[in-house]
């Protein structure tokens, strides 16, 4: 079906709002492209609609809300005395303001601590940029050194602990796993002693070697309990 100018005018808003079927849209485009008047009309209305959509909402006069509230709820009773003077402070008591206040205070505290400003003995000189920079640099280096030392200490402690655990594991091996000599059934070894198995011997030797290495890495500890461990564990 071929569309006429009347069709175009009647369905223009449907076209702009995307409510035409593909066939109708094709017929619309065919006519609008071939008819100068309709083409101009489509272009101008399309631009008008775009302009209307991009128009911003007008700001409401501030007094309007109060005027409406006065008309409907009645005029507010004017506060007298100290209430009228300190009424503006009511906003500070809200939970949101308290939250913001705590956040700001915490941030300031962190910043002041990081910049090395002493809160107990504040000095004006602490606020000079050079001093602030020096303090921040010093604090950063201190934190780095402390954290490095802490990590290093932790590593040593865990290493010692893991090796001691291995040692404890070895000493608390259940007796059921140790082969018992059975008098009367097996010849020899009837004196009540429990000789270590070859596997246990190997583990003990390995542990001894590891402790020797650890003792060499930790010269302070080597002369004390590590040495004693070596004496006690290595047969």
């Amino acid at each position: 079906m071929t569309w006429t100018c009347e069709h175009i005018e009647a369905r223009l808003s449907d076209y702009l709002d995307g409510l035409l079927s593909p066939d109708e849209r094709h017929a619309f485009d065919m006519h609008a492209n071939s008819c100068e008047n309709c083409g101009q009309m489509v272009a101008s209305v399309s631009q008008l609609v775009g302009g209307l959509h991009s128009m911003e909402q007008i700001e409401t006069p501030p007094r309007l809300v109060y005027a409406i509230l006065n008309q409907t709820l009645g005029p507010r009773a004017a506060k007298k005395g100290w209430q009228s003077s300190f009424g503006w402070l009511r906003g500070f008591t809200s939970a949101r303001f308290a939250y913001y206040g705590v956040s700001v205070a915490a941030t300031l505290l962190i910043l002041l601590t990081a910049s090395g400003i002493s809160l107990r003995k504040p000095k004006l000189a602490d606020l000079s940029p050079a001093n602030v920079y020096r303090n921040v640099d010093r604090q950063a280096h201190l934190v780095y050194a402390r954290s490095t030392k802490f990590v290093s200490d932790l590593r040593v402690v865990y290493e010692i602990q893991s090796r001691l655990n291995k040692d404890n594991e070895l000493s608390t091996t259940p007796e059921s796993t140790v082969p018992q000599s059975t008098p009367g059934k097996a010849p020899g070894s009837t004196d009540g002693t429990r000789p270590a198995t070859p596997r246990q011997q190997n583990r003990a030797n390995g542990l001894g070697r590891e402790l020797e290495i650890l003792a060499s890495e930790l010269p302070v500890a080597s002369g004390q309990w590590c040495g004693r461990l070596l004496v006690r564990r290595i047969p």
Partner: protein
């Protein structure tokens, strides 16, 4: 994409599509009916801007728009008990009240109003350096606001309200049908005629498409 975002923002401002907005409005209305003054204050703050904009676009006059907005809220306050959420959103109901008041106002002031003809207004508007510029530039830059407002007030009230609700308040056809209390076909026809008529008025004012 940017256009979609902008459109979405406008729709959000219009406050019609969001379910949570509808629920909040319904809740506030219930609280108002129970005598909660702060709930009414919240309703007023939420809808004043939209109602003022409708009134301003319809009348083209800030003072009249303020007075009419106050009348709208006064009527809503008095008739809040008659609102039924089952018949539609509170915003739609409020827009309907606004529309009725605007039409009443239009009829009441018809005799007093100075109905300057389009031919009289044209030379004044054309002098406003509108000639020689691309209309799309002017529209997109928002420089045509006053011309568009002038053209809008030249429309008949039926076409004007349809264009305002559709293109400035971004209501969908169903909401406009509820507000105007006319069939959807009539709504579409009025919007279409309003847009074409307005484009012709702007063209006569010297704003021509490239």
């Amino acid at each position: 994409m940017a256009l979609c975002n902008f459109w979405g923002k406008l729709v959000t401002v219009a406050g019609f599509e969001a379910d949570d907005t509808l629920e909040q409005d319904a809740q506030l209305v219930q609280q108002c009916l129970q005598g909660d003054g702060s709930a009414w204050e919240e309703l007023v703050r939420r809808h004043t801007r939209r109602i003022f904009n409708i009134c301003y676009r319809f009348t083209g006059n800030g003072t009249e728009a303020e007075d009419l907005s106050q009348d709208v809220f006064l009527r809503v306050y008095k008739t809040l008990g008659s609102y039924r959420s089952a018949h539609g959103g509170f915003a739609t109901w409020m827009t309907s009240v606004t529309r009725n008041l605007l039409i009443d106002h239009y009829r009441r002031t018809k005799r007093d109003r100075i109905t300057d003809s389009l031919e009289d207004a044209m030379p004044v508007v054309e002098n406003k350096e509108s000639a020689g510029r691309r209309p799309d530039q002017q529209l997109l830059l928002g420089e045509l606001s006053s011309q568009v407002q002038t053209a809008l007030t030249k429309l008949s009230p039926e076409l004007r309200e349809a264009v305002i609700l559709r293109d400035l308040q971004q209501l969908d056809y169903n909401e406009i049908r509820q507000v105007l209390d006319v069939p959807e076909g009539t709504v579409k026809s009025r919007i279409n005629r309003g847009r074409i008529e307005m484009a012709r008025i702007l063209q006569q004012m010297g704003v021509r498409p490239s």
